[in-house]
Amino acid sequence: MATRTRLLPPAPRGGPPSAQAPDEITAPATIHDEILREPAVLEVDRFSLWYGPRQALFDVGMSVPEKRVIALLGPSGCGKSTLIRSLNRLNDLIPNLRTSGDIRLRGESVIGPDVDVINLRKRMGMVFQKSNPFPMSIYENVVFPLRIDGIGDKVVLDETVERALRSAALWEEVKDRLQQSALALSGGQQQRLCIARAIAANPEVVLMDEPCSALDPIATAKIEDLILELQQEYTVVIVTHNMQQASRVSDYTALLIFGRLIEYGPTADIFQKPRRQETADYVQGRFG
C-alpha cells in the first residue's frame, strides 16, 4: 500500500477550485442498491491498473447488469477507456501493463495468463471513438468476425450481413453497394458499420468507447437511437464524457474520477439525486 500511494499521479495544476486531488478521494464508491438486485453479466472486482509506474485505475468494483445500457462517465483522462479496454483485454497490446483484482464474465475470470483472450474478445463486440472500417468491402467488414472463425458458408454470411446491418440501421442505405469499399461511406455510416461489425457474431456484451465524439449531431442522434434498440438484445457498456448522452441512452451511470469509481446507480438518480458531493459537482459542470 505504501508504494501505491507514492505512485499516485500528481494533482493537475490549474484545475477548477472544487476539483479534488485524487488522494483526497478516499471514500469507497457509492453503489446504489438497484444495481445489486439485477443479474450481472460482468463483474469488476477491486480492479486496479498501472501503466508502467503510473496507476490509472484504483480498486474499481462494479457489476454490469444484463441487457442494460451502462454509461461510464467522467472527465477526460479519468480512466474510462482504460476500464472498458480492460473488459476485453485490449490493453494487452500495451507493454509494461500491470493489473490487480479481477474481472469476471458470467462468473469466469477474464484476467490471467491462461484465459483464451481471442475467444473472450469474440464474446464482446467493440466500437471505438474513431470509426475504423477495414480496407475492404462493406460486406467483408461486417463478416470479418465470422471469416476469422473460418466460416465461409455464403448463406450464413449473407444472413449475418443483413441482420447486422439492419440492427445497425444501415441496411437500407448500403444494401445495393455491399461490395464497394467501406471507406467510401460517410463518417456516421462508417461508425454504424463498425457497430454492425461489433454485433455480427452475436456477442454477449457490446463495448462502446465514445462512439459519437467524432460525429455531427444528426449522426450522433442516429447512433443514440440505435443504442436504445440494441439494449433489447445486448448488454451495452458505453463510455462518454457527454452528460446529455449518458442521460439519453443509459439505464445506469457510473462516474469515474481520477481512476476511482465515485458513484454508480440509475441514471436519473445520478443526475437528480446524487449521493456524493463529487457527483453533484460533476453534473453541475464544476468538474472537468
Binding site: 485490449l90 474478445r121 471505438f128 476469422i148 469499399s181 460517410s186 452528460m243 443526475f271
Partner: protein
Amino acid sequence: MEAARVTPVEAAQRAVASAVAPAAPASGAGAQPPHRRGRRTALAAAGEPLVWLLGAGQVLAVLMIAGLLGLIFYQGFRTFWPRPLVQMQVRTAPDAPPQRYLGEVVRHESYRLTGTAPDGAVPAAERRSLLRVGNYDFYGDDFRWIPELGVVAELRPADAVTIERLEWGPFFGFVREYRVDGRTVATGEAAWRRFQAEHGGARGQWARARRMLKHDLGRVNRKLEEDRLALRRVELAHGRDSAEYADAVRESAAGSARLQEEYRRIQSQAEALRQEAERTSLVVAEVGGREKELKSAEIVRAFQPNALGFTGKLGVYFSRWWEFLSAEPREANTEGGVLPAIFGTVAMTLIMALLVTPFGVIAALYLREYARQGWLVSVVRIAVNNLAGVPSIVFGVFGLGFFCYVIGASMDQLFFAEKLPNPTFGTGGLMWASLTLALLTVPVVIVATEEALAAVPRSLREGAFACGASKWQVIRRVVLPKALPGIMTGVVLAMARGAGEVAPLMITGVVKLAPELPLDGEFPFLHLNRSFMHLGFHIYDVGFQSRNAEAGKPMVFTTTLLLICVVLLLNISVIAVRTRLKRKYESGYF
C-alpha cells in the same frame, strides 16, 4: 422513461449556464495591446528568405535532372537520323594537290596548337571538323579531322551512297556496277536502281539461310548433346564396363548417325540458299576511286542521303529504330539491335522483383510486428539501412562466390552431374544475377515496408483485435492490405535501383554477347542458368570497350534512352497496379 432521461441534464445545464455567465465580461474587457499599424512582419520571421532558398534548391535539382534527360533525349533520338554526305577538297600544303574526303560531319571544334612560335606569338585558334569517313577496310580508321583552313571546296554529291553492311562498318562512296553471278549487268544510275529493286529479295534469302543454320542446326546439335549426356548418365550410373553401357553406346551410335545425316542435309540446304542470296553484288568506289565488290546479301541498308527528301529520311530513321529494337547486335555491338539486351534487362528486373518482394516483406514484418523492439532490432535495422551503402561490386563478388560457386556448384553435382565439367548453374546466369540484385535492393523494400506498416493506424489493428482476430489474422487481413500500396512503392524503387545496376551483373551472369536468349521454345522455356545481355552493360561495352569509341558514342545515348524508357515502363506498370489497389481500398474518407 425517455422523458425522464432528458430532465436531469437540463437542471445541470442551467447550473452550468449560470456559472459561466458572470465570468464572460471579464475576458472581453481589458487592455489588449494596441494594434500596431504599418509595421510589417520582419522578413526573417516570415521565413521568406528560407522559402527562396528552398525554391532555388528545388529549381537547381529540377534543372539538373531536366538537363541530363534533355541531353540524353536529344542525342538519343538524333542518332538514327540520316546525315548528309559531305565531300571535302582539302589542300594540306600550298603546292600539294588537293585531297578528297567523303563522310558525315560529326562536329566542329576550335583548337590551338601547343607551344609558342619562335617570335613568342601565341598561335591563333583554328577550327576543324570531325568527319566520319567510314570505309574502315580502306582507311583503317573511321574518323578524320579536317582543318577548316585547308578546305577548298565542299560539295554534297547527290549520288553519294551510305551503305550499312555486316562487316567493316559503314561504307561511303559511289555506285559503279551491279553484278549477277560475277557478270556486270548494269552500271551507274541503272545499277543503283536495279540493286534497290532486288536487294530485299537477297536479304530475305540470306535471313532464311541464317535462321536455318541457327535454329534447325541448333536443334540437331541439342539432340546430339542430349544423346551424349544420356550416354554419360548411363556411364555414371553403371560404369564403363557394364552391359547397359554397351547397349547405350550401340543405341546412341545409331541415333547419332541419323542426326549427323540430318545435320548434313540442313547444312547443304542452307548453303544452297546462301549461295543463291549471294549471287548478286554491288561494286562501289570510295571517293578516291578505289573499288570494292559488296555482296547484296551483306548489305543491311543503302540509301543516297543527299538525294533523300524528308519522308525518305523519315523512312530510314524508323527502319533504323526498328532494327535497333528488334534485331541482334552486330559489329561488336556497335551496330544492329539490342533486343537480347532489352529482353535480359526486363527478365532480370522482373525476376529480381519477384524475389525481393517476399524477402523484404517477410523481413520487415518480422522486424516491425514480431521482434521485441530492443537494441538488437535497432542494430539489425541500422545494418539493413547500411547495406544500401555497400558498393554494389561487393554484392557481385558475394553473388559469384556464394551463389555461383557454392550453391550453383552443389546443384550441378546433384542434378547435372553428366554435364560436368561444363557448369550449368555453377557459373554466372540469369538466376544468380537476379538473386544478387535482390540482395542488393532488399533494404529498399524493407525500409519502405516498415514505413508502410508503421503508417497503418493503430485504430485499425485494435478494431481487428477486438473482433477476436489472432495476430497473424490481423496482419494478413487488415495490416497487409492497408500497407500494400506502400510496399509496392518500395518495389518500384527497388526495380529502378536494380535495373540501373551494372557492376554486380558483370561478374554474375551478364555477357557482351549472349548466343541464346534465356527464353525459348525448349523445355523448361525460361533458362535461369543462361548468361544474358543487359542494357546497362551494353552501354558500358559500346561506349568504352569497343574498337572505336567515337563510333559507339551515339549508341551510348540511344541505349541509355532505351534503358530509361524500359525502367519507366516497368515502373509505370507497377504503379498502375498500385493505383488500382488503392482505388479498391481507399475511395476517400469524408
